[in-house]
Symmetry: none
């Protein structure tokens, strides 16, 4: 056998965890599909709906990209790693 018995156990555990998580994800995908189907039943255009969702996600992506490049520039200028100046929690 090429795997120690402990490794085999580990492998089985890993596989189980993965399959469990994938099941949950699949369940959410089903929920999503149902929401779209229901929306369609109420007269909404599903394609437009999807486009709206995509646009909203795109806005967020762009916002993050802009922050990323700002940080890169600050870094290039040696101005990054500035401490947030005050914590929200009691340090």
């Amino acid at each position: 056998m090429s795997l120690q018995s402990s490794a085999k156990d580990q492998l089985r555990t890993i596989v189980s965890r993965i399959e469990r998580l994938e099941e949950e994800k699949a369940a959410l995908a089903t929920d999503l599909r149902e929401v779209y189907a229901e929306a369609k039943g109420n007269g909404f255009d599903v394609k437009a709906l999807r486009t709206v969702i995509r646009l909203r996600k795109l806005d967020e992506t762009k916002r993050r990209e802009e922050e990323a490049i700002l940080e890169t520039y600050l870094h290039a200028l040696g101005m990054d790693k500035v401490e947030p100046e005050g914590e929200s929690e009691a340090a």
Copy 2:
């Protein structure tokens, strides 16, 4: 405005539900990535692991069909029946 206010409320609700579900899905995707990362840290080959997961959910019949087609193509190209220990040079 082209949407009745009740339709607008419905739309908002739908968008919220969808984005909520997508967030949860994203969280699961993160968990999954962590499991793979942890497995890798414990010395497992992530790519092989993914293949195992894939094979486990692949119906046996489909699996054989896929293999059969692949073999046909490899054969047509003279790439099948690779000698188990042969050398590539000076054939």
Copy 3:
């Protein structure tokens, strides 16, 4: 043999065409790498550069998404399929 000899020839042709195109693509990837390397040599921050490129692509993506949703709405209102009235692109 499971493939007609004409099919075998077709297969070989297809494989050749694909491999040729992939070679060309790989060559372009090399060129790209060189451009980045040269830029780095001239003092540019490669990471920032990549982010700039990404942002510019994102802008275009968003523009397209916006057009897509506009079209969807026009379609929903029965106003689509309007002939382009000459050429639309360029500038």
Copy 4:
């Protein structure tokens, strides 16, 4: 402004060159997609075709290593040596 005007010009040049190369790459990607689509239209199994291409560029040694690891995992999970003609259902 934080960049000398010469640097700005350089930057513009670099960005142009990169975007030009990426355009060409995208064009090749389109060509590739068309070849696969055409092959599909002629009755070839695209997935298998892709596998063939992949195997052709995979070094033989690496190929064997990958297979060996996969088999080890399948064995550990009791999934190896699938009987060549067994039925899963009681016909």
